[in-house]
């Protein structure tokens, strides 16, 4: 039990379970799932579906953070990807056809690739600090998205496109399936190849990594491209869900949620060791919190404060100092921690 509690994922998982239980207490049907018209329904499904864009972006963010970086531009990439795909569909001669939808998806992903290459170029080749480099696109990106949409909200009506964010396949929402696929892809890509270890090496000690012959430039480039592509797919989901592109509000502040998910999940902002599973748990915690606010009927004006309290608690529970304080309150004084656990 004790060693289980020491596992780096222990506290995030406990926090998530506690939140879900809390909901179950207030709404006894909370955890139940039901089948209707061949689709699975229930609060858990809602949480996963609504959290899908955040999870996607947080997965990309995890790898970026593991290299000691950060990507603030993901929200802007969401807006650009949505704007580009919707603008294409709206302008195409056959705005309802599946081919148009597929092309729109392709355009969004290519836009993500290009934006990721730009971020990676600034960070790895020019050597701009990640926070500054991605701030450029964070600010400029919304402008680009507005240029694409001409300052308007572009509404589209294309059923295949709509299904990305709102459709079902094999009883499950397609957005959940896409997210699961990206998660598996990321896990396989980093752990079946040496990419994961090399990302961690660069994040832990860049100097030693260089002297060991590691081309950190390529590694850093890969993570920024991956992050932007994740953001582009999230942008597709968000715009598809509302069948419209909103350059101003799509993915607004989503970078903050993503960073938070990474941190709650147990990956240190200082870089190095990362956990994709932890990030997914972290994103679920954030999304469940939002649901909890509705379940408990917390007034909207204190919602943010409530969220902040939960997040701070989870982060503190992972900090060695706070844990020691806690255990010294519980039992006889136990001195300093020997193992540093990343917050």
């Amino acid at each position: 039990m004790k060693s289980l509690l020491k596992h780096r994922l222990a506290w995030p998982v406990i926090a998530l379970a506690a939140l879900l239980l809390l909901n179950q207490v207030f709404r006894p049907d909370f955890l139940s799932l039901r089948m209707q018209d061949g689709h699975l329904y229930g609060s858990l499904i809602d949480i996963m579906r609504n959290g899908a864009p955040t999870i996607l972006i947080a997965l990309g963010m995890t790898l970026v953070i593991a290299t000691r970086g950060i990507d603030l531009s993901v929200g802007a990439v969401v807006a650009i990807a949505g704007a580009a795909s919707c603008a294409y569909i709206a302008a195409s001669p056959e705005p309802g056809s599946p081919v148009t939808a597929a092309t729109a998806v392709l355009i969004a992903v290519i836009a993500g690739l290009a934006l990721g290459i730009w971020n990676g170029f600034l960070v790895s080749t020019i050597g701009v600090q990640p926070i500054i480099a991605t701030l450029v696109l964070m600010t400029a990106g919304r402008g680009i998205a507005q240029l694409i949409t001409g300052g308007q909200i572009i509404s589209v009506s294309n059923d295949p496109y709509k299904s990305i964010g709102a459709g079902y396949l094999l009883t499950l929402p397609i957005s959940i399936l896409i997210t699961a696929a990206v998660f598996i892809l990321a896990a396989v890509l980093t752990r079946r190849t040496a990419l994961g270890t090399l990302i961690e090496a660069v994040g832990i000690n860049p100097v030693a990594s260089r002297l060991a012959g590691l081309r950190s430039r390529n590694i850093i480039w890969i993570v920024y491209v991956f992050s932007a592509v994740c953001a582009a797919i999230a942008g597709l989901m968000i715009s598809s869900n509302v069948t419209a592109a909103d350059a101003n509000n799509a993915g607004l502040y989503i970078e903050m949620d993503a960073i938070l998910a990474v941190v709650i999940g147990g990956t240190s902002l200082a870089g190095g060791r990362y956990t994709l599973v932890g990030t997914v748990v972290g994103a679920f915690i954030i999304q469940t919190l939002t649901t909890t606010v509705y379940t408990l009927g917390i007034p909207p004006e204190v919602t943010l404060v409530f969220k902040a309290l939960v997040v701070i608690t989870v982060c503190l529970l992972q900090a060695p100092k706070a844990r020691n304080l806690l255990s010294s309150l519980k039992a006889a004084p136990k001195p300093a921690a020997k193992e540093k656990v990343a917050i």
């Binding site: 190849t193 040496a194 961690e200 090496a201 000690n205 030693a208 002297l211 004084p333 921690a337 020997k338």
Partner: protein
């Protein structure tokens, strides 16, 4: 006499490592007590337990008869225990007086009384015969030796009852060591208990009154220095019998590599240099040859190694590998040309601390394969097991985090990182610094053996004896340039010193 510090039955464990197990330790006032043991024996851990950096799993600590449980370094300091580390941990950008009195400045009506600070600092410095140091000068303007003495001045100022000196002499020259020892004896005579840790046996015999020997996290015993011979001490440290020791101590016997005409050197540099760093390096290393770089600390040895490895870019001169002219712009280029480089700064430039021994060991090999072609786990396991055994890495656990290993064992893993890539030239910068005798001899033997197998080795060390023992040829570096190239035929330390002192050949 009552001990100032008494530690009884101390145990500390880390994931995968039992660092200390049932260790007793006493420290008496007015004595210099040396803590001896190989790397990984548990010296640093014991010190960190005493200074509150690590918490102990079991056992008791008493200071002046009082039970203590230090949970922070501050608690330990408050109990009168003061530590001066190998790397001086003061603030280089503050003045001497600010450093000496940091956090305890005399005050007058709420603000710092700078006159008081100045006079108090002068007093303390005078006690340590450091009158020549200006209290208002920046700490960073002084040599490491003086900085270390200033760190000691700080503990004198707080009236420390226990002073811990962890490898204080590793970057000092002989005169500086004498100055430090004068201060240590002074403090001892005033009743301060001094815990002294050093790898230099002669210094330990020179300064210490009593010693405690640790091995593999266990207590071997406590001895009066005058009762224990050097050989006796060494055999207690490494836990082997005298005969085995004598064999270990032998200079590795091997025939010196021939560098006859007709053979192409693996590496040849002509006038290699870099602005503001080193210049005029004409160095050649033949296959199967060990070339030693001799010179004082700061003479430019490491800089030369970094130029050859591409860690820094050369901007003058030329370099040829196997006769073909090459421009090495990055470590990666060097590695592709089959060159390996073990940096002198293990922690900053070698280790990936939070990764396992396994990941660290295969890192260079994996890096040159690229991220997409992961070395299969089975191959990794075989390699790691092979090298852990061959180099006697302890603990022999591939999954242990490398930062939890002792310095000597970390060094072995870093060596193995290069050996698995089968380099043709291996540059070793201070491979035996801060390492115990056992590991040191192992590494020296390994170097000779690698060269006998045909590898070229560039061997850098501050210890001239060591350079002479392993090298076929010696390049002498002075004042950031190469001044001589000597064949190592019965060359003595004095000969090399003469060259360093005299300049030209």
């Amino acid at each position: 006499m009552v001990p100032v510090v008494e530690m009884t039955d101390i145990a500390i464990g880390f994931p995968g490592v039992k660092a200390l197990d049932g260790v007793n330790f006493r420290l008496f006032p007015g004595e210099v007590h040396a803590l001896m043991g190989e790397n990984g024996a548990g010296k640093s851990t014991l010190i960190k337990a005493l200074t509150g950096v690590y918490s102990i799993d079991s056992g008791t600590v008493t200071v002046l008869g009082e039970h203590k449980q230090f949970s922070t370094p501050a608690a330990s300091q408050a109990a009168g225990i003061s530590t001066v580390y190998q790397e001086v941990n003061l603030c280089p950008n503050l003045t001497v007086e600010e450093n000496v009195l940091l956090g305890r400045e005399p005050r007058r009506r709420g603000s710092i009384d700078w006159k008081g600070v100045r006079s108090r600092t002068r007093e303390v410095l005078a006690e340590l015969h450091l009158d020549q140091v200006d209290p208002g000068s920046l700490l960073s303007s002084h040599s490491i030796a003086v900085q270390q003495l200033i760190a000691i001045a700080r503990s004198v100022e707080i009236n420390a009852k226990v002073l811990i000196l962890d490898e204080p002499t590793s970057s000092l020259d002989a005169d500086e060591v004498n100055q430090l020892f004068r201060v240590i004896r002074d403090l001892r005579d005033r009743g301060v208990a001094i815990l002294f840790v050093s790898h230099f046996l002669e210094q330990v015999y020179d300064i210490s009154d009593r010693m405690t020997v640790l091995r593999n996290g266990k207590l071997v015993g406590e001895y009066m220095t005058r009762d224990l011979s050097r050989m006796g001490l060494i055999s207690k440290m490494i836990g082997r019998e005298m005969e085995a020791l004598a064999e270990l101590d032998q200079a590795p016997a091997r025939t010196r590599a021939r560098t006859d005409s007709g053979v192409t050197p693996f590496l040849e540099t002509r006038g290699l240099g870099r602005k503001g760093s080193v210049s005029h390096v004409d160095l050649s290393v033949y296959p199967g040859e060990v070339v030693g770089l001799a010179g004082l600390l700061g003479a430019g040895r490491t800089e030369i190694a970094r130029l050859i490895f591409g860690a820094d870019k050369a901007d003058e001169g030329s370099m040829a590998i196997k006769g073909a002219s090459q421009r090495i712009r990055s470590p990666r280029t060097a590695i592709d040309l089959r060159i390996g480089f073990c940096s002198e700064d293990r922690k900053e430039e070698g280790l990936i601390g939070d990764l396992s021994v396994r990941d660290n060991l295969v890192l260079a090999m994996q890096a040159s394969k690229g991220w997409a072609r992961r070395i299969p786990r089975r191959v990794q396991d075989e390699l790691v097991a092979e090298y852990i055994q061959a180099l006697d890495v302890r603990p022999a656990n591939p999954d242990a985090l490398i930062r939890n290993l002792s310095g000597g064992n970390q060094q072995k893993v870093l060596l193995a990182r290069w050996l698995v890539t089968h380099p043709e030239l291996l540059i070793l910068d201070e491979p035996t610094r801060g390492i115990d005798i056992g590991a040191k001899t192992q590494i020296q033997k390994l170097v000779s053996q690698l060269a006998a197998d045909g590898m070229s080795i560039l061997f850098i060390s501050s210890e001239l004896e060591e350079v002479l023992r392993v090298s076929d040829r010696i390049a002498v570096i002075k004042d950031r340039a190469m001044v001589a190239d000597i064949n190592n035929d019965d060359v003595s330390v004095e000969d090399v010193m003469t060259v360093i002192a005299g300049g030209a050949q």
